[in-house]
C-alpha cells in the first residue's frame, strides 16, 4: 500500500495566491484547468526538484511525467546544463551588447536541425509561432493561414478561438480550420482560396488535449509539403511541444519532410528560458525585415544552457532513450490495466504519451484512476500528453507501474 498524500500546505498557499493573482495559479498548472480533476488529487506548489522528481510544499515526492509541461528533458537541475549556465551567469546575462554564445547556439541549431539554415531566438513558443505567421504573410503578401482543428500554437489573439475572452473577429478572420489528416480538405482549401494562403501551420502530429493523440497518416506530410511548394505557401511546423522528443534533427525530419519554418521552445535548454524560430534560407531576409524583438531576447545564460542541453541530448542519444523509457512505461501500464480488465489506450509517440482508459467514454473512470496515481506520488495529468525526461530510471518506471496497479485496484473495487 502506497502512502496517500496530504496537501494541507498547498491548499493554504493557494488561498494566499487567490488574493493577489488572477486564478491563483494560471494555465495548465492551475486548478482552473480541466487537466486537474478531481482537483483534490493534485498538489499546487512545489518546493524543489531534482532529476525525475519534484517535491511539493507538503513534503510529498512525485515521479514527474509532466516535466514542467515540457522544458525538463534531461532531468531537473541537470548538472551539465546548470554548470554551463552558471559559468555564463558569472560573466553576465542580459547586457547591452549580446554575447557570442548567441552565435554558437545558432550554429549548433543549424548543424543539428535538418530544416534550419538559420536561427532566431526569443522567449516564448508564442513569440516564434507569431513570428512565423508574420514571416509567411510578409513573404507571400497573403493573409490566410490554414490550421488543423485541435491545434495549439500559443496565446496571441491570432491563434485563439473567436469565443475565447478578449478575442475579436478581426484576430481570426483569416484562419481556415481543417480536420487533421484530411488531405482532401487541404487540397480543397487551396483550390477555394487559390493564391490567398500564406501558410499552413501545424504540429508535427496531433498531440491535442482531451483526445487520443494522432500520428500523420501515410503520405500526409509528403502531400502537404508538395501542395505548399506548388502554391508558394510557407509550411510552418510548430515543434514547441514535440521538438527534440521525436528527433534531434526536428520532428519534420522524423516524419520525412522539411518545414520552411520550425518553432522550438520547451526542450531547447532544459528549463532555461529561450525559444527559437529556425528556417530555410529563402525566408532569412524576410525575417530580417520584421520589427521583432524583446527585452531579454539576447540574454546569454539561456544560450549557454541551450548549447549544453543540445550537446548532451546528442551525446546520450536522448530521443532514443526517451522512446525506450516511454515504451517500457507504456507496455507496463497497458499490461497492468489488462490485469484488471481495463483497456488503457496509449497514443502519441512514447516520449509524449497520452493516456485514456477506453472503457468509459465519459472519462470519469480515467480521471479517478489518474487521481489515485497522483495521490500516491505519480504525477500524471488527465487530458494532456505527458513528457518523458532522460533521468527517469528503471526503478522510477517500476514504481510507477506498481502505483498504477494499486490505483487500478482501487477503482476496480470502487465500481464492482
Amino acid at each position: 500500500m502506497f502512502k496517500i498524500n496530504d496537501y494541507t500546505k498547498s491548499r493554504e498557499a493557494f488561498l494566499r495566491a487567490e488574493k493577489v493573482i488572477p486564478s491563483g495559479i494560471y494555465g495548465h498548472q492551475g486548478p482552473a484547468e480541466g487537466c486537474f480533476v478531481p482537483v483534490e488529487a493534485f498538489p499546487f506548489f512545489s518546493d524543489r526538484a531534482k532529476g525525475s522528481y519534484f517535491w511539493d510544499i507538503d513534503g510529498n515526492r512525485f515521479i514527474d511525467y509532466m516535466c514542467a509541461y515540457g522544458p525538463n528533458v534531461l532531468g531537473y537541475n541537470d548538472p551539465d546544463v546548470d554548470a554551463a549556465a552558471a559559468a555564463q551567469r558569472a560573466k553576465g546575462d542580459c547586457i547591452t551588447a549580446p554575447n557570442t554564445k548567441m552565435i554558437d547556439f545558432a550554429e549548433l541549431l543549424v548543424d543539428t536541425v535538418k530544416s534550419a539554415d538559420w536561427a532566431f531566438f526569443a522567449k516564448n513558443g508564442n513569440d516564434v509561432t507569431t513570428m512565423a505567421v508574420m514571416t509567411a504573410r510578409a513573404y507571400t503578401k497573403r493573409k490566410k493561414i490554414i490550421f488543423f482543428k485541435g491545434y495549439y500554437h500559443g496565446v496571441s489573439p491570432w491563434t485563439q478561438k473567436i469565443d475565447y475572452a478578449g478575442v475579436i473577429e478581426e484576430d481570426v478572420v483569416n484562419n481556415i480550420y481543417l480536420d487533421w489528416n484530411d488531405i482532401d480538405a487541404v487540397e480543397e482549401a487551396f483550390r477555394k482560396y487559390k493564391g490567398q494562403i500564406a501558410a499552413v501551420i501545424a504540429q508535427p502530429y496531433m498531440h491535442n488535449n482531451f483526445m487520443d493523440n494522432s500520428l500523420p497518416i501515410k503520405d500526409f506530410w509528403a502531400k502537404v509539403r508538395k501542395i505548399c511548394t506548388d502554391n508558394d505557401t510557407v509550411l510552418i511546423i510548430d515543434d514547441v511541444r514535440a521538438g527534440f522528443r521525436l528527433d534531434i534533427a526536428g520532428s519534420d525530419h522524423y516524419f520525412g519532410f522539411e518545414a520552411d519554418l520550425i518553432c522550438f521552445c520547451k526542450a531547447l535548454a532544459n528549463g532555461y528560458n529561450v525559444s527559437a524560430l529556425c528556417g530555410k534560407y529563402f525566408l532569412k531576409n524576410t525575417v530580417s525585415s520584421l520589427s521583432y524583438t524583446g527585452s531579454y531576447w539576447l540574454s546569454a545564460v539561456p544560450f549557454a544552457a541551450g548549447i549544453a542541453c543540445i550537446e548532451k541530448m546528442k551525446r546520450i542519444n536522448c530521443t532514443q532513450l526517451l522512446f525506450e523509457k516511454g515504451n517500457a512505461l507504456k507496455n507496463g501500464l497497458i499490461e497492468t490495466a489488462s490485469k484488471y480488465g481495463y483497456d488503457l489506450h496509449v497514443s502519441g509517440v512514447p516520449s509524449l504519451f497520452y493516456l485514456r482508459i477506453a472503457d468509459d467514454p465519459t472519462l470519469m473512470l480515467h480521471q479517478e484512476w489518474i487521481a489515485e496515481c497522483v495521490k500516491r506520488g505519480i504525477y500524471f495529468t488527465n487530458h494532456h500528453n505527458h513528457f518523458i525526461n532522460a533521468s527517469l530510471s528503471d526503478a522510477n518506471i517500476a514504481e510507477t507501474i506498481a502505483v498504477a496497479d494499486e490505483a487500478f485496484s482501487v477503482i476496480k473495487n470502487r465500481h464492482s
Copy 2:
C-alpha cells in the same frame, strides 16, 4: 586624450553571426537599427559585465548608459539579486507545479505599486501589453484602442504599424492614433466613437525614439483618467520601459493618477526574465477568464530575483538615487556642451534621459558626437532614451563628462 576603441573581434564575430542569424543581431542591439550611426563607433558583442560597466570581446570597457535597454537597474550582476536567484536555482526553477515565490512576489507588488490589487506574471513586456488589451476588450465587449503617436507597446501585430512587414489591415483596424498631450483630440475621439473604445494605452510620458521626450502637460492625466472612468474605458499604462525608474509605486503614481492596468517588465528583476501585469480589483475576474500562459511563466528563479530587486530598490531609495545621478550627469553634459557653444537638449526624466544636440536639425552633428563618446568607452545611443543604474558612481559620471568634453572638442574642430 582617451583611447579610441578597436572593434576587430566584434566585426569578425558579426560576420559569423550574419551567416546563421537573420540580421546578425536583431532589435536595438543590432547594427541594422537607426540607433547605431555611424555603425563603426559601436561594439557588437559583449564578453562580461559588472556594475555600471560592460566589456566587449575586444577588451574595451564601457560605462553603460543603455543598461541592456532597461533591465539593469541596480548594476550588472548585483550581488543581492544574484544570491537570491542562485539560492532558488539550487532548489529548482521551471517545475511542473509553481513555487510559492510567485505568491510572495505578487504580494510584494501589490504592497508596492499603488494601482496594483493583483499581479499576473509573464516573460515579455509584449506579453503583458497584449494581455492588457485583451482584458480591456473582454471587459468592455468593445474593440477600439486609443494609442498616442510615438508609442511603443511591443511587437505583437496589433501594436505594429500597417506598413511594417508581416502586418495586415485586420491587425490594426481598431487602432485610433492621437497626438500626445492633445486632450481635445482624446475628447473628440470619445465623442466620435462613443461606446466603442475599450482602452486607452499609453506610456506614462512620451519617451519615444528620434524625438525629444515629452512629459505630460498639466492636468493631462487627470483629464484622461476622468474621461476613461466616465466612459467605462480601461486605462492601460505601459510602464515596461519607465517602470520603477520614476516611482517605486508606479509611474502613474508619479504623475498623480491611477491606471486600471499597468504593465511592468524591464526593471522588475535586474535582468532576470519576468514581466508583470498589475491592475485593479474590478478587472481581476476578467483576467482570470482569458486563455493566457506560457512555457516558462511560472519559473521560480525570476520571482526570487524580482523580490530581491524590488526590496533592494526600496531599501536604497532607488528612484531618488537614479534621479540624482541622472541630474548630475545632465547638468555636467549641458555645461560641457555650452563650453563649445553647443546647445545640448536633455529631455525626459533624469533616470531615462534623452539627448539631442539642437544646433543641427539633421542630427548628423549629434550622431558624430555620440560616436566620439562611444569610441572612447561611454556607451550612449543616438536616438533612444538612456537608462541610469544605481551602481553608476560619481567617478563614472566625471569620466563620462570628460569623454563628452573631448568628443565635443573633436566635432568642434572637425566643423570649424
